[in-house]
Amino acid sequence: MSDPLLHIKDIHIDGFSDERWHKIIKGVDLTLHRGQVLGLIGESGAGKSTLGLAAMGFARPGCRLTRGGIWFDGEDLMQASESRKQTLRGARIAYVAQSAAAAFNPAHRLIDQTIEATLRHGLRPGDDAAEDAKALYAAMDLPDPETIGLRYPHQVSGGQLQRAMTAMAMSARPDLIIFDEPTTALDVTTQVNVLAAMKDAVDRFNTAAIYITHDLAVVAQMADRIKVLRHGEEVEEADTRDMLTNPKHPYTRSLWAVRALHKPSLREDDTILSINNVTASYGTAPVLHDVSIRVPKGRTVAIVGESGSGKSTTARVITGLLPPLKGAVQFHGDTLPPALKDRSRDQLQQIQMIYQMADTAMNPRQRVSEIIGRPLDFYRGLKGKAQAQEVARLLELIELDDSFADRLPGELSGGQKQRICIARALAAEPELIICDEVTSALDQVVQEGILKLLLRLQDDLGVSYIFITHDIATVEAIADEIVVMHQGKVVEQGPKEDIFAPPHPAYTELLLSSVPTMDPDWLEKVRQT
């Protein structure tokens, strides 16, 4: 076999936080040959991105490469000077970031940014590079490849921007591209197209790639080999098909298990909340058109759809943050006042909300005891010792011990924060909880824990959920009924089994078929249909 393109040997990387150095990467080896795609997976904090950047000989501010060696095409990057590494970056090693919106300069046209690195490195003349960029846009399946480069970043969609960024990385025909979660911020329906375009490009130019993600199904489509990282150490590495069919390490198997969570749906005729023919708009922009949804008592209704489909707006109408133009929300058969300020404290108590970003959903200056204690006092009049006891009971309910009562949100992990938010909602003893993408910011293993907790709480307390999500695996795990929304309208509504079984309306079909599966041939199959 020929010499590897990239060879990393026993690399150690430290990060600086809390006024001391911590080990982030603890001795990882990595070998990548030309034209090969390696998938790096693991939960957040596993060191995936840090390792990806190290492949460029780069340590981000606050990090340092302490030990080990990095050889790119036989050249030792640990010894190379900064200027030498700069001539490699952009020309022979390219990087595609998670948020294309943040990586593009909003003040320059796409095409100027696409060919910037090529020109800087003097690889080819400007006209030539611009023509090539147009060809790359066409290869990336972007609309109007001749003229789209003249637009500014805000004039194209998120999926298009991500493809333009891949074109930017391709412009210099690098030997290696590092993809750092490039589709995580995209909708499933957009993700398919971006994945297909990236895979095509990598195949066509025989580029080697490192694909970093936490989504197993995505990595299954892209990678030839998969490496699993945890706590800065390698768990296992194998060919994609071997890894998928026969994961060896228990940790890898636990990652696989999350997607297998399934809840049989139950019917219930007693309605707790119904939304009747609601039409709503922000200012003059209409968002919801004649939406009707029924939530059965003690069950979970999942509202699915891509971003901009009106899922979260529906939640805002239910909570009274956005009074509807037409239609009404009924709770136990009584019509709720449309605006938040007209609702009574009892009505507010019955409907609680849990947010996507637990970070911003809790006041960073309040301790857990105060965050959970306030609704206890506010709705139920519990003070002092009774309140402290109830806080302890709620913490136990969400599987945390009462030592957490004294902590600030900054001292909690992502999953723990979301649990505290659940406890805050439960503190009001509500009948309905609206969960707005509560698991989408979390790692898969943590997601599983939260979903199981929510299911258990429903069994124990009989609370109903409205679960807003774009993730079909989550729907599979938790929902009894499904509402599919698209462009502010309800496309389909019914028990989970009925919705998942064909025949589907066109949009549901597209949504379901866009969800990557663990089958490595899935992307090929989808593209052929």
Partner: protein, 303 residues
């Protein structure tokens, strides 16, 4: 599955909680020398201001037979144009100038901070009215506006405090509104509203603790500006009125002595003393504010 999942095992570093004083002390130990200098100077000023009657050798308005007396053991910094002891007046001046400036700054923050919070939360017609009113007030040069108002309402200490506080509260309003706007859009504020919390709770418990660091820093700077404004107004003759000692008016009253510097250097220095007192305090406060700003703006990891 061999590995079971437990929420408690999730990473998240837990630091040992220390008592408030412990934490303040560790922060102080790490403070740079400039911050220490600033804090010591401020402490001395405060002590002098509080214990002025015990420290000063003579009374504030006590007149001695010899005007413009030279520096001597009896009159450490000499006497002024009507024979009052300059050293004693410097000490009493600390009390008046700092006390009034402090009071004015607090008033400015109560008005500007309170209305700024309300405007940020309300975000409708009330915000528009308040913001436009502030724009109008800020469009008029502050010193000239203050001079005008003072000549209308008279130069009593109270009208001085209220007028300067009102003019300075416009700046506080702008800052408070701007920083509070960033916090108002956070989900936890929405969560509090969904809970049914009133305006007062949202202001005091949800937003205020999160915007406190920039406000405290602004308090330090604003205090300096108020202090300088009072000194300037006193220098112009409409500020703190005689016989009350005040550094600004002391500079003006003794200004003519500067010409004597070529004959007697010490006499020439006399009007510089109150000016130096003003400058030193301003610098000291700024040192402390700078340290506080760096500490709370999250820049320390970059050092």
């Amino acid at each position: 599955m061999t590995e079971t999942y437990s929420a408690k095992d999730e990473v998240g570093q837990v630091r040992q909680r220390r008592s408030r004083w412990d934490r303040i002390w560790t922060e102080l130990k790490k403070a740079p020398i400039t911050a220490w200098f600033g804090m010591i100077v401020i402490a001395i000023y405060v002590i002098v201001a509080v214990f002025a009657p015990f420290i000063a050798p003579y009374g504030e308005a006590e007149v001695h037979p010899l005007p413009f007396a030279p520096w001597s053991p009896e009159h450490l910094f000499g006497t002024d144009q009507i024979g009052r002891d300059v050293f004693s007046r410097l000490i009493y001046g600390a009390r008046n100038t700092i006390g009034i400036a402090f009071l004015t700054t607090i008033l400015a923050f109560l008005i500007g901070g309170g209305l700024g919070l309300v405007a940020a939360i309300n975000q409708s017609w009330l915000d528009q009215i308040l913001s436009r009113a502030v724009d109008v007030l800020m469009a008029i040069p502050a010193l000239i506006f203050a001079l005008m108002l003072l000549s209308i309402f008279g130069s009593s200490v109270w009208s001085l405090v209220v007028i300067i506080a009102l003019l300075d509260s416009t700046r506080v309003f702008r800052l408070t509104r701007a920083v509070a706007m960033n916090v108002v859009v956070m989900d936890f504020v929405e969560a509090a509203r969904l809970r049914g919390e009133g305006l007062g709770w949202v202001m005091r418990r949800e937003i205020l603790p999160n915007i406190l660091p920039p406000l405290v820093a602004e308090f330090g700077l604003r205090f300096c500006f108020v202090f300088l404004t009072i000194a300037a107004l006193s220098f112009l003759g409409v500020g703190i009125q005689p016989p009350t000692a005040d550094w600004g008016s002391m500079v003006r009253q003794n200004a003519s002595l500067i010409q004597f510097a070529q004959y007697d250097l010490k006499a020439g220095l006399t009007p510089i003393l109150p000016a130096a007192a003003i400058a030193l305090l301003t610098i000291a406060v700024n040192f402390v504010v700078d340290w506080f700003l760096i500490k709370t703006s999250g820049l320390r990891d970059e050092v």
